[in-house]
Symmetry: C2
Subunit: 505 residues, 2 copies
């Protein structure tokens, strides 16, 4: 009986995965290829397939099947594919069936309107245009959160949607520890810069776009990105998407007058893609055939972007190559000055452009605002002022406009609330992975200095990627680190790195 029911579950898993892959393709195409007049029909197509996917994932048939199969869980190895598929589908089913259909419908409508309003508000630099719509989105998210009660904090179920089993309190505890340390580090670095200023103007000369693209492709290839199972395209807002374990695509942007933007976006998305390409093939066409969570995913992209891509070791190998490609721009710039420039710390307004040291503060601000809004401590109408005050407090800068302040991120307009902390958690976890890789692999730095990136890729694949979404983030942390998230690795990494940079003259 188990086998028959399990096969049926597998079929449903395959069906849902296939539908979701089609949705991802509709979305990828929307960002990379779609002509402008296709937008309205495309939105309907995504809506229709999302509804079908949701119906499949919440059907009574699936519920009954999971009920029956859960009786067999005790006889299965908790690390087995079967156990994990039942577990993950059960979790997903429970999450999704808790929200009434009419609430989901209202939420879809509100976010469809929200995105239009946000775009207009941002374009016209007029928060008022977005205010009413954003209030409704927060109100609906609050109602959706309440469907998951009881909880310690109303933010818990929202966070849990993106980061399974993560508690708000855990994030807040971590943030409370790192906030003063990061602020102190920023101040120290700014003092250092007074004695030892950084000139990064050479990064903003004219760099041929095709040559930038080709250099990025070379790095991605060295990282082990499998071009037979993926491709890279241009998109205004880079992202990685998976249509199947044999088709993991990345996007990047290239700016002729900003060398860093394209390369680090390619490496970042490449980090995400290596994770997906590294998932064991037998997990394909199920919800196990992807990364474990957003924070774990972000740990991989940040590790490659920052700990590898912004390391001196990396550039020992790649800088001479880059200089040969751009002799007039970089021929007279020493590797040390290049390294210092690409790691320049500068409190700024825009999260996605923030450096490694200031980045987490942008996240903390957002988390605090999201919780305060959900708790009713502030109103949506207060947002612009509170945003600007906190920016001044944490980063010492005040937005010149709401477009560069509270309106900068797309997330809230799409109803994505509870997501931001995963970026910062990803930073924490990336440092743990890099530390572990260094102690597990002989002379990792030396390998990276030779452009030999595959040992790191293979280590990550064997340690993490192959498991796909079989285990929760907590289970993975326990399995790999025998520990919870430990923020000290990231703080140590930053301190050591900027200590080293400051010692360079």
């Amino acid at each position: 009986m188990f086998q028959k029911d399990y096969d049926k579950l597998q079929q449903i898993a395959n069906k849902i995965s296939d539908i979701n892959s089609a949705i991802f393709l509709l979305e990828w195409d929307q960002q990379t290829n779609m002509p402008q007049e296709g937008a309205a029909e495309r939105a309907e197509q995504i809506g229709t397939l999302s509804t079908i996917s949701h119906q499949e994932a919440t059907s009574n048939q699936l519920g009954n099947l999971l009920d029956k199969l859960s009786n067999f869980q005790k006889d299965l190895d908790p690390e087995s594919y079967e156990f994990c598929l039942i577990k993950v589908m059960q979790r997903d089913y429970e999450q999704k069936t808790k929200i009434p259909a009419d609430l989901i419908g209202r939420f879809s409508q509100a976010t469809a309107i929200g995105q239009h309003k946000w775009e207009r508000a941002r374009h016209e630099n007029e928060f008022n245009i977005f205010e009413e719509s954003l209030s409704e989105i927060f109100e609906l998210r609050k109602q959706m959160a309440k469907c998951h009660s009881p909880f310690d904090c109303i933010y818990d179920p929202l966070l849990d949607e993106f980061e399974p089993e993560m508690a708000t309190k855990t994030v807040q505890d971590i943030f409370n520890i790192i906030k003063p340390q990061q602020i102190a580090l920023i101040q120290k670095i700014q003092e250092d810069y007074k004695r030892n200023p950084i000139d990064d103007s050479f990064l903003f000369q004219n760099f041929d776009e095709k040559k930038q693209w080709d250099f990025g492709v070379k790095v991605l290839t060295d990282m082990g990105y499998d071009w037979k199972s993926g491709r890279q395209d241009k998109a205004a807002h880079p992202f990685t998407t998976t249509f199947g374990l044999g088709d993991v695509r990345i996007t990047t942007r290239i700016h002729s007058n900003n060398f860093m933007s394209g390369l680090f976006s390619s490496i970042h998305e490449g980090g995400h893609a290596l994770y997906e390409q590294g998932v064991a093939r037998n997990l394909q066409r199920t919800s196990l055939g992807t990364g474990a969570s957003l924070a774990i995913h972000e740990s991989q992209s940040r590790l490659w972007e920052n700990m590898v891509g912004r390391s001196l070791s990396f550039w020992h190998h790649y800088y001479p190559i880059l200089q040969a490609i751009f002799p007039s721009q970089l021929g007279n710039v020493s590797i040390n000055n290049f390294y210092r420039a690409i790691n320049k710390v500068e409190p700024s307004l825009i999260r996605v452009e923030a450096d490694e040291v200031t980045y987490n503060l942008h996240i903390m601000l957002r988390l605090e605002l999201e919780i305060a809004l959900l708790n009713g401590e502030i109103q949506v109408s207060d947002l612009p002022d509170v945003w600007n005050c906190k920016m001044q407090e944490y980063l010492g800068v005040t937005p010149d406009s709401d477009a560069n302040g509270v309106l900068q991120d797309v997330h809230w307009s799409c109803g994505i609330i509870g997501y931001f902390p995963t970026y910062a958690l990803g930073n924490m976890i990336s440092a743990m992975f890099f530390d572990k890789a260094k102690s597990s692999l002989d002379n990792l730095d030396a390998k990276i200095s030779q452009g030999n990136l595959l040992p790191l890729r293979n280590y990550l694949k064997e340690t993490l990627h192959c498991h796909g979404a079989k285990f929760t983030p907590n289970e993975l942390m326990k399995k790999i680190f025998n520990s919870k998230i430990d923020e000290s690795f990231y703080i140590n990494y930053l301190s050591n790195k900027y200590e080293e940079i400051n010692s360079m003259i």
Copy 2:
């Protein structure tokens, strides 16, 4: 009551259309972008969505709704959107529900295998590899045809699937008339060539691919192809696909050593795309939001490719432009010699490379073989020999290999039987449209000679395109020409054209 049921029908129509658009995108991406390792999962995704689409299109709910709504048809204007949507969905429902699900399943499996076998057989030039699989495909198609009994000819329901209401007898009658005339014309032209030979070798020099692409884009733009509602990409086998009336995409191929291939493929697909882009917007997201049939569709692509793109008038405008782009290749070639070369008639082995005069004979051969196989007059194992005999009889050439003979087309391996005649019917209808356009528009030739192609586009849009699939091909022919398909227009067009060409020295 009508309105409520009708709204429900509209919703189902929208849902099916959205799912089908996603399938078309999965297929487009497969041909244009997909990395090779994505193939297996992509096939599953297309299969899953096709099953969902089929279930929606054959549901009891839809059947009941159509039953109820058909009672209201007598009160509706037969040209109204509502009447036509009910009519077309009824037809589709009846067609699809006649085939048992298990037969559809067996057919899907057989064609999945068939495509692999065909590819291998073609690659290895070994018909035996494909024989057993092709036998099964024909057997299953026969069984599917029988589900539609009674019929005059077993080929009728297969043809009807691609060309609604078209009878095999009608096609055979037309072919019986044109076959001797086309064979005679080929012989006459070959006699003419003896006195007045054609040198087309300059078409096979090296033509920069980017410049070819740009010239094609210019022509497409002049034709009125709307780039805000579409795009062009490269594909090995060019096709047009519609994801929505605001997103109609074409594909083309570019060969550096064959100037004609890319340009005429772009114009051909552009003709298909103008049809889809010209459909009235209120038909979007339903099965009315596309062309009426394959033959009507092909009439548009052929009209643009051959009657416009291979006309002397067209090149009066474009040839000087082309010469300026390719001075070393074409600078010394007169327009008359260019025109004669792009219209060179030469019996050859491959259908898709055939000229206007020999093309239909390739189709007649295929129709005769398909009917003979379905009637049991020949067996699949006889195919290579019969194919080669008929090629010799009709075209005076014998394939050097099965790869260049019976294995050249993908259609049968996909189970597409009953499709080929629509290509030839499209030729017939294209001549009727072009004749009608000439008599309806002042000085059409002169306009084309000035590169002013929009009057023709607009005429076709108003006369045909706007109707989408509201009417059957027969209804359209009656409405537009007050006639059935009349093959004399095409024969006259060919005779006149080659008379003119022969008079050029």
